[in-house]
Symmetry: C2
Subunit: 496 residues, 2 copies
């Protein structure tokens, strides 16, 4: 009997987020839960920022109710969620008591494993959330976002793992949201972590399949000692999604590693989702093959389409090549942040503005915040000239403290605002829903009683067009405040 490789299936969250614009209705997941629950997974990822957002924005589903339903339908398997550290499921930093309250309520409603990450890999943005998870007695997984840059060495990733272990995490996740993790670094990082932190530390590897190389990376990660890997039931897999679970199981035959998964049950889940998939064709990712140029450009697919639409809105669609060349420069100026929500949008939009209006002639509020430390610390130092410009645009100073240290307690304020909204049910869960998505929650509370909308069953039920399905892509519109010649303007970037 070989070493057991545990598997997390992302079919209930990241798979349809990556391939179906997060639109899958709970109703369409319920029939597969029994198969998935009995198949022998370590966990089933089923909740996160985009699914929460999509629930209230498009599906008129209460995300907390979805979580409770999953917990009920998956009695034998850990439920798992993705949490953006101090950002929780939203796009700003929350004050610590809100972070703790969110984790507490998620645990109470049925969440077992919390995968906590920060877009800048700043451990200070993870600490409060991880501690909150520990207090609930649930599984606290500290996450390292994988990216490529001159400063992102194997040693740096191993050091971050050490920091997370010192914080008391139950496991480490290497999160490769853009499918950039090649086999050799996958091996080296896992090996480095195991060597430094001890072989008993659980190492969990999450990869997307965009570039076509990452099933090989999972193989090498396993050879280096990885304990758990993420895959997705094959009928909703590949392209910008994930490697097929069935292929992982088969790949390991005879290698001395085995998943112990029940393929017959997975085939039943596969057949179910294969039947559901075509109903969501309006939202399906058009990409089914591989994209390898991302290794050169470092620009995730979703970010690319976002920048393209920004340029086109300004009638400058022919300047994409310049923008593509500008992105790595902007990223370097900002200290090489990984390109993942929200840093991918912030860097991408600034690159677009640089090309359209001249280098840092205009700066978004978000980019100036990034330059001044308001999102946290980046891996490398920043370009001091651009920091100076950011101070001018932002009219504020650089900070080096943990960003959330500057926030005042906000729970009572959120509570009183939320409780004023029509249809609010007076629970802390509703306060949290409002806190995460203050612009979307009011309409959701008002219409919640109408019950779920299944856009797969009846596409006419939604007027919204499919947004880009890339995991690093914002589901909702984002507003930027830009200052041009001293005048502030609002620029809204919406998914097309």
């Amino acid at each position: 009997m070989g070493r057991k490789i545990e598997v997390t299936d992302v079919i209930l969250r990241d798979a349809h987020q990556s391939l179906m614009a997060t639109r899958m209705a709970m109703e369409d997941m319920v029939p597969a839960c029994e198969y998935l629950d009995k198949a022998g997974y370590w966990s089933l990822e089923c909740w996160g920022g985009a699914t929460f957002d999509s629930c209230i924005r498009f599906l008129n589903e209460d995300p907390w109710e979805r979580l409770r339903t999953f917990k009920q339908l998956l009695p034998n398997t850990r439920t798992q969620m993705l949490l953006r550290g101090q950002n929780l499921l939203g796009y700003r930093h929350y004050e610590d008591s809100v972070v703790s309250k969110f984790v507490e309520k998620a645990a109470e409603n049925g969440m077992d494993v919390f995968r906590v990450f920060d877009a800048l890999n700043d451990p200070r943005n993870l600490e409060v959330a991880l501690n909150a998870v520990k207090r609930t007695g649930k599984h606290a997984q500290g996450t390292i976002c994988y990216t490529i840059s001159p400063v992102h060495t194997v040693e740096k990733f191993v050091e971050m793992a050490e920091q997370l272990v010192e914080m008391g995490v139950d496991s480490i996740c290497i999160k490769d949201m853009a499918a950039l993790l090649k086999p050799q670094p996958a091996y080296d990082i896992v090996k480095g972590i195991k060597d430094r932190c001890g072989k008993d530390l659980l190492v969990h590897v999450h990869v997307h399949s965009t570039t076509g190389v990452t099933l090989v990376s999972l193989m090498k990660a396993i050879e280096a000692g990885a304990d758990i890997v993420d895959t997705s039931v094959s009928s909703i897999s590949l392209g910008p999604g994930h490697n097929p679970t069935e292929s992982l199981v088969e790949m390991l035959e005879g290698t001395g590693y085995e998943t112990g998964l029940d393929l017959e049950l997975i085939y039943k889940a596969r057949d179910h989702f294969a039947q559901i998939r075509p109903r969501y064709k309006e939202f399906l990712s058009e990409v089914t093959g591989v994209e390898t140029e991302i290794f050169k450009s470092q620009i995730p697919g979703g970010m690319l389409s976002n920048m393209e639409s920004q340029l086109k809105q300004q009638g400058q669609g022919d300047r994409m090549k310049e923008v593509l060349e500008e992105v790595p420069r902007v990223r370097e100026d900002a200290g090489f942040p990984p390109l993942v929500t929200p840093s991918s949008q912030i860097v991408g939009t600034q690159a677009v503005f640089n090309v359209m209006m001249g280098k840092y002639k205009v700066m978004t509020g978000e980019f100036s915040d990034l330059m001044l430390g308001y999102y946290g610390k980046t891996a490398a130092g920043k370009n001091p000239d651009v920091v100076a410009t950011a101070k001018e645009f932002g009219k504020k100073d650089e900070i080096t403290c943990r960003p959330a240290d500057l926030l005042l307690p906000e729970w009572e304020k959120l509570e009183s605002e939320a409780f004023k909204l029509e249809g609010n049910n007076g629970t802390p869960e509703d306060v949290l829903t409002y806190a995460m998505f203050p612009q979307v929650a009011p309409k959701f509370f008002k219409e919640r009683a109408d019950g779920p909308i299944n856009v797969g069953k009846d596409p006419a039920l939604t007027s919204a067009k499919a947004d880009s399905s890339h995991p690093g892509y914002l589901a909702g519109p984002i507003e930027y405040e830009v200052t041009l010649n001293g005048n502030k303007r609002k620029v809204t970037v919406a998914p097309v």
Copy 2:
């Protein structure tokens, strides 16, 4: 500098055979040849049975002219073809002088590397073709068809490699046409061959991507010492096709292995084929994801759809499950042949007949020939009861000699038949075209002067529906002679 891994790109042959029903017109390949030729490939596979067939059946293109054009457009890279041993590019055994003549003419017209295989892995069916290649001074590659059965052990494959080396091959190919080769056996077989035959023996690995595991298999094959691997430019890759070339290149970064391929040129070829691909949408494979149940059933996708259509034609479409269970039994009775053209069709059709009419109550002429040794020797012994039944149906005895030993010289007969056909140009090449496809060649000769038909540009130019695109699937209709209650009947199985 790491060990160099050579690459054969199959974009000009197997890629469009597997994903576009072999329909790509020469006109649509020409613009990419310069990029491909300069990218640094070891070879470019560009000719084979199905492309030859498609040229004269659908595209009104002279396959010999296609070969000469490739040779001209690819001055820096070896051209490569797939040859079915004693079957050449047809579906029967040819007499030795025809085999030699074919190889001679292919070499003369520009072929550099001959990958020679036999559906039953009977080395006697390879010998004449391989010797003919050696005489021309071209590269003779002996091929092992990979399959899974109780008798197909690593040791057996290594033994076959030894036999091929004794025949004087320049390299060995492990051909995994059904994507069944998992990472561990890939490693073990390559390692076994290198250990037994010496590390200088070139080992070339050909895999399809159907099951999603074979890029990992290529990685393990490379670690075991494989010298050359087959991939395809990404825009025509994956599904029942091949692993993307770009992913292979990127996968190896930092591993100590490198291809030395010029990705920028490959991206240009990719962009070209990405633009061409949608034009052939009528013929595109519907499968873009993975199929892993083939590991259980051993039945390639193309064979599956063939059997389904046979059942439906008989109004017994609901009996597919029984047929799926029957196939492995029929395969075992026949001594575990690999399931590849033509053995996949022969075994599949017999399984259909067994289910519809009772076990071996009817036997196709082809199946009885297979049982009696007329296709060559299988890896395991055959079921003696079924051999006895085959003798009755076939009204002939079992043979143990090389099947082609029974054939009389046939070149002059073929020549005189071919030369009588309208439009025949009097060359040995035309005789060979006629010899390969006697039912299709007459029409082709007559209409050749009309010039090529590009069904991608104008789908109305062909009335034929897309046939299944699986590499193991017959492009044309096949006639079976069955005997039921002493009466002979002809059954024609045509692609749907």
